[in-house]
Amino acid sequence: MHSINEDELQPQESTTQMVRKHRSPFQLSLQRFLKNKLAIAGMVVLTIMICAAIFAPLLTDHDPLEHNLMKVEQSPNSEHILGTDSSGRDNFARLLYGGRISLVIGFSTMLSTLLIGLILGVISGYYGGKIDSIIMRLSDLVLALPFLVLALTIIAIMKKVTIGLFVVIIAIVSWPSLTRIIRGTFLSLKEQEFVLGARAIGASDFRIILRHFLPNAIGPIIVNATLMMATMIIVESGLSFIGMGIPQPTPTWGNMISEAQGLRILRYHPEAWIPPGLAILLTVLSINFIGDGLRDAFDPKSERR
């Protein structure tokens, strides 16, 4: 077989460079991510939160819904380490179980928003044309209505707000931002030569989207989805505050804090609001750190070397 220009062959870099394993861009990103101390700290904290939520039954004997009317608004004591709430339910148990709901809400709103955003964004960004302008006008329209206002209006229309419904509503209201990001990423990828190259070898649209667009768009998508999850946890608590979140007695961090609306709780029962407040703060902070770490890890600027 014909072999070309032996003398032009690279003296392989591995001989001159330190021996490196071949890492895929994904592995490289992961490597960069793992070097980011804040992001790792975020991971650790988030993992603890998630574990605490998952293993709630092991961490407390109390039922978050079980009330004891003889022990209302108690200060911390040996039985109720964070005291009890205004219905005599154990705050610690509610904190743990509330974490489940809050995290699930954050996660599933993010997922469903991502799903809508991905589908519409891909269609819009890849095919362009009429369908693109329709989707974009639609997103303009949704964006024109302030997020909370729209969410509130829809929630008010619903007779009963369940977690599933809540998730769907938030997703319906918040898809445009992700859709636009995904569309933008796709549009810029569309101009890249490697996409033309893929078309030149006769790859189908499906293949181009799946093998060429998505892997390259995954960075911004993951980053934005992560940050969105943080936002959603805050949104949930805000809606709970207005009384339009997940209704009691289901515990969520949001409706735990919103019980602190009165100065009495604020002043005399810090154990009732500081833990859920901290839980939200830490979770959102961790997620933001992770998102930021992911952003750095996926940053194309650091990809060249």
Partner: protein, 587 residues
Amino acid sequence: ACNSKDDATGDTATETEKPSEVAETEEDEKAAEEGPKKGGTIVGAMYSAPAGMFNPIFYEDSYEANIIDFVFEGLVSQNESLEFIPSLAEKWETNDDQTEITFFLQEGVKWHDGEEFTADDVVYTYKAMSDPDYESAGGVRANYVQPLLGYDEYQSGETDEFVGVVADGDYKVTFKFAEPNVSPLYYASFPIIPEHIFKDIPVKDIPEAPESLQPNKLIGTGPFKFTDMIEREQYVLSRNDDYWKGAPLLDEIVWKVVAQSVMIGLLEKGEIDFVASPGGIAPADYDIVNDFGNVVIVEQADFGYQLLGFKHNHRTTADVESGALTPDNWVPNKKLSDPKVRQAIAYAVNRVGLVGEGHGEGLLHGRGQPINSPIAQQMWAYDENAVTKYDYDPAKAEAMLDEAGYVDVNGDGFREDPDGNEWVLNMDYPLGNELRERSAPIIQADLEKVGIKVNLRQPSEMSVYVPELTDDNTDWDLYLIGWNLSSTDPDPSGLWATRAGYNFSRWNNPKSEELLQKAVKAPEAFDQKYREEVYAEWQKLFSEDLPALLLYAQNSLWAYNDRIQGIKILPHTMYQDSHEWWVEDAE
């Protein structure tokens, strides 16, 4: 006093066996030493801004009443025993069959603009409420005029002669009723508005008129004038120097709208001086506020109660669509049709637990009472001895259920109905009252403790809840609701008569119907003793047949800064005779 109506939100209620046991004594002494002073401003707090309609015949919310109470007066008011006492009317007399009542008015009463108050103003007020356009313009107080003679003809426009209330000279006015009336004073207690201001404004335009809405345009006879407002923030009442009972001592009363969440802080700091109905202070805050040292708390039973309703019957879909309330078409709710079951439920609910017996207990922290009768406990008609009390007794409840055949046959921990079928009671509750929202899961747990499976459903906004409650062609079994009662007359038929719209239980008991009618039937009913007896019988029936389990009546907790003197605490209000209020630190 105005009948405050806090629609969706504040349906609080209670009773109190010991009306106004207040820490008044100390203050009274001090006051006596120094004597009342003129001047000063006090600040009252309300939690929500009034919608802005300050015309008594059109207002709706209780925040508006906060202004109206100081600006307008009725012919009569009520004393601490809830008896009617003279106000704008000096005295009155009824004819023999109680179809007419004649008032002799105070002379020399001046409207805020200096005009004389006369019998024509009284006539005008009632005429306006009978106007054909009154209801469509948004008026909701027609019940005050409906029993008047000739109301239907006048209201439907058949005649423009209004004969229900007639003046005889400037200071004599007669109310004429179509039928003998057992509580004519109630109907005559409505605040009077000035004819000279409104006579040229068509009734349908009154709601938009500045005279109904704006400071300085609003003219009443009360001790304070409405002089200034920053919408949704502040409402300023200034002294009416020409007040007929004597010039008020205070310069100004300022109402501020503050969030409930910060109220106690402001109260402690002295930035607000008093907070009363609607709302008052939260039961859980009682101990804290009590410790402030500068604040006096007034605790007394509220006019109203919360209840756990049993749907005795459902309406048919056809009825719902046609809007007919036809008891004959009603479909009995089998799940709850056995009175034993209802009684068992009543024993199973720990109402004392809900109320609690002190701070840190129950939802009310002890600031209220479980009640057993649907008549306000302050009322003469209230008779606690006539009723079954249903003290918390789960064992008894279980025994009764067993007896009624509701036993757990399949061993799932819940009882099945006598036929062995699954027996699940649906329970619904509305949003809007935090305590009530919290009580729902607690009641559910109580019932499940005795083996009754309860399907507690998601709460909904009052505006969604009530239509479903009303339509009733649903699968509802248990529901929560609360009522505010009038302080004027104990007649419960507005809520519990079979055909009453608000009889959400669709309670259809002929005996009850008979008693309710008997209690207001002339001429026997002119005798209060007689009515007392009939109502006692009815209350007994109620507590046995149980269209609803009455849960508790919350105490109203009013609070004011101890710099204010001269406040007169009545069961239904503390705003009466505000011209006598004064502050120690006035210059």
